[in-house]
């Protein structure tokens, strides 16, 4: 059984394409999403692969890698790795705002899941916040928000094309909880946070991801190759996700107990601060700032 856990905060600093490959969507290359909610996600297997490749690129000791992640593919049947990497779940999604440039948007359902997941990880210090309720036409913002607009005695928040009525609320508990998993250098959460209804949040994560057209050029003609135009979906920069890594006693390799695995992993991730996840690395995509605790 799992003896230890680590919580991983992932903040995208460039657009991320963790591709699904199996979905028929309106774009050619959609991103991974949860089936039942439609929320963007990064599957545990993708994340584990990204972590392993970061370890291997750093030239880490093979015995340590085998203990944590399991043996190389050709020897996969020998023993399993000591960690179980959970799917990265969305916590904050960036949305264009008429005032304050952009907002970090979240919703009650996402916050409740975050609380439940932190309880599962044994982090009751993070899971101690109240979740506000919010109607479809409302936006809950903390005092001092830079997103609000006053018009005809009404306070509004305009996100993408949606006009929402602003409701000020004490969100400091939530801000404190989220700040614990935000990587260093992201310090404007309190000014940009907004809680919208589950429905509105769903619409944003479905319709406000980045869609880019990409082409391949036929060098002999200088024009687009046959079949060389495709549309690709990205999770935008400034998205915050989190994942839980559960750690058990190693079954092979050179590490002896879960504590050793935890400290190797934590030490490595703390030294890294950046992780490359998903496709399109060579066109600058998939860079995430990480925090581990």
């Amino acid at each position: 059984m799992y003896e230890k856990t680590l919580v991983l905060g992932l903040y995208s600093i460039t657009p991320v394409h963790a591709g699904s490959g199996a979905e028929l969507s309106v774009v050619d290359l959609p991103i991974q999403r949860e089936r039942h909610t439609g929320f963007p996600t990064i599957w545990g297997q993708s994340l584990k692969g990204a972590l392993r490749s970061a370890f291997e690129r750093e030239g880490k000791n093979k015995g340590v890698i085998y203990s944590i992640f399991g043996p190389d593919t050709d020897k996969a049947s020998e023993h399993a790795g000591a960690i179980s990497v959970g799917d990265a779940r969305i916590l904050l999604f960036p949305v264009r705002s008429a005032r304050g440039v952009f907002a970090y948007v979240t919703c009650p359902m996402v916050l409740k899941r975050f609380r439940r997941d932190m309880e599962f990880a044994g982090r009751n210090d993070i899971a101690n916040f109240e979740v506000p309720s919010v109607e479809d036409k409302e936006a809950v913002v903390p005092q001092g928000s830079i997103l609000t607009i006053n018009r005809n005695n009404e306070t509004l928040v305009v996100l993408e094309d949606l006009l929402l009525t602003a409701k000020e609320n004490e969100l400091s508990q939530i801000i404190n909880a989220i700040e614990k998993i935000i990587p260093d250098g992201v310090d404007d959460l309190g000014k940009r946070l907004v809680v919208v209804s589950d429905n509105v949040f769903t619409a944003f994560v479905k319709f406000s991801t980045e869609i880019l057209a990409r082409i391949a050029i036929d060098q002999s003609r200088g024009t687009v190759k046959e079949g060389g135009l495709w549309y690709e979906e990205f999770l935008p920069a400034d998205t915050l996700l989190y994942s839980i890594i559960a750690i058990s006693k190693p079954k092979g390799g050179s590490l002896n107990d879960a504590e050793a695995v935890k400290s190797e992993l934590q030490g490595f991730l703390e030294s890294k601060t950046y992780l490359q996840v998903g496709g399109d690395e060579t066109v600058g995509k998939g860079f995430m700032k990480i925090k581990v605790l």
Binding site: L24, S25, V26, V27, D136, K137, E160, D161, L162, L163, N199, V200, A203, K206, F207, S208, T209, I211, A213, I215, D218, T223, V224, K225, E226, G227, G228, L229, W230, Y231
Partner: protein
């Protein structure tokens, strides 16, 4: 009562419309296919209202009567293809959500939650349109695969 799933109804509608276009000239088929492929990206990036207005500008119907666009009366293949696509989207919205023949006029008056519903419905329809257009229409030799 119609007990088929919404997806089946969208598929039927998209299939019939694309089948209709497949009987037009090769030029119109190529253009229509390419516009259908880029439509979701246009909508997701610029919004439904902007996209519909863009199609109208491409159709260039100077008498301003957007309820009675007749692709047959237009001159160029790209005008016709845009007109077909606009009409198909408008017809589906009329049927399923807005019960009005003029989506632009409806869009202007709609609440933001209604706009979300319209957008969601058009995207869901375009998923089918794209599949059928890829399968049934002539494609451009270069570019769109």
């Amino acid at each position: 009562m119609d007990i088929r799933t919404l997806e089946q109804q969208r598929a039927e509608f998209a299939y019939n419309k694309v089948l209709e276009v497949s009987k037009k000239s090769e030029d119109i088929q190529k253009k229509y296919r390419s516009y259908v492929r880029s439509a979701p990206t246009l909508i997701l990036t610029n919004g439904l209202g902007q996209t519909l207005a863009f199609y109208l500008s491409k159709i260039g119907n100077s008498d301003g009567n957007y309820e009675k666009i007749d692709p047959g009366n237009l001159e160029k293949a790209d005008q016709k293809a845009h007109a077909y696509l606009y009409k198909h989207i408008a017809e589906w919205l009329d049927k399923k959500i807005i019960h009005s023949e003029n989506p632009i006029e409806y869009y202007i008056r709609a609440s933001s939650t209604e706009v979300l519903m319209m957008t969601e419905e058009v995207i869901a329809l375009l998923k089918w349109m794209r599949r059928f257009a890829d399968a049934m229409l002539k494609g451009d030799e270069r570019g769109e695969g």
